[in-house]
Amino acid sequence: MYKAEWRIIGPVPAFGETPLFMPGDRVRILVRWPVGHYRVPIYLRGKLGIVETIIEPPAVDNEQEGYGRNAGEKRHYYRVAVQLTEIWPAYAGSSRDSLHIEVFETWLERIET
């Protein structure tokens, strides 16, 4: 059973260890146009969504990993929920329908309400 008094104060997390976003955060998927390898589909760029879960542990940026050396900057991926009506203005299905996708931290910005 976890007790708050057991938490050790003092260790400083390294860059990328602390997630920048929390479940429930409203986020925008950035508009960016990489030349070469990317893993954020064009249909999602600029769309608004909500962070559903933080994928643990932090992992390598797959856009860098694709260029070899089995390396890249490590940060968190987030499972983000986006309404299909947000993605497709003419979406014909239910307004409840949603898309969920893993997005690397460097592709997200927080939306302040």
Partner: protein
């Protein structure tokens, strides 16, 4: 906006939301070479010679025409060849010579 930007900006595999045909609900059992090709991908990944993301990027780098015209495992093996050359693990002439040697194991076609 130049006339060709869109070709660079959208990778050939980025098809989400693009116009497409009805789904053909078909499947085919893998050819033996396709299964060996899949096993090769896994073994290359285990040995960190070519990781899965490199394979994806290698397939994308084949370009739109090859991505659209080659089958799934044909794209993989062509991508592997290119990546192995880039990593100086094989050279193009190594592979060309070996491919000729493999082909020579079958009698030449009589025409």
């Amino acid at each position: 906006m130049t006339a060709t930007e869109h070709l660079v900006k959208r990778l050939p595999n980025d098809v989400g939301g693009t116009p497409a045909d009805p789904i053909q609900i078909a499947d085919h059992p893998l050819e033996p070479w396709e299964k060996r090709c899949h096993a090769l991908a896994d073994v290359l990944d285990f040995h960190k010679i070519i990781n899965t993301e490199e394979k994806r990027r290698g397939v994308e780098s084949l370009g739109t025409e090859l991505v659209n015209k080659l089958s799934y495992y044909e794209r993989w093996i062509a991508a592997f060849a290119n990546i192995l050359f880039q990593k100086a693990i094989l050279s193009p002439s190594d592979l060309a010579r070996k491919m000729q040697e493999v082909e020579a194991r079958w009698p030449t076609r009589e025409k």
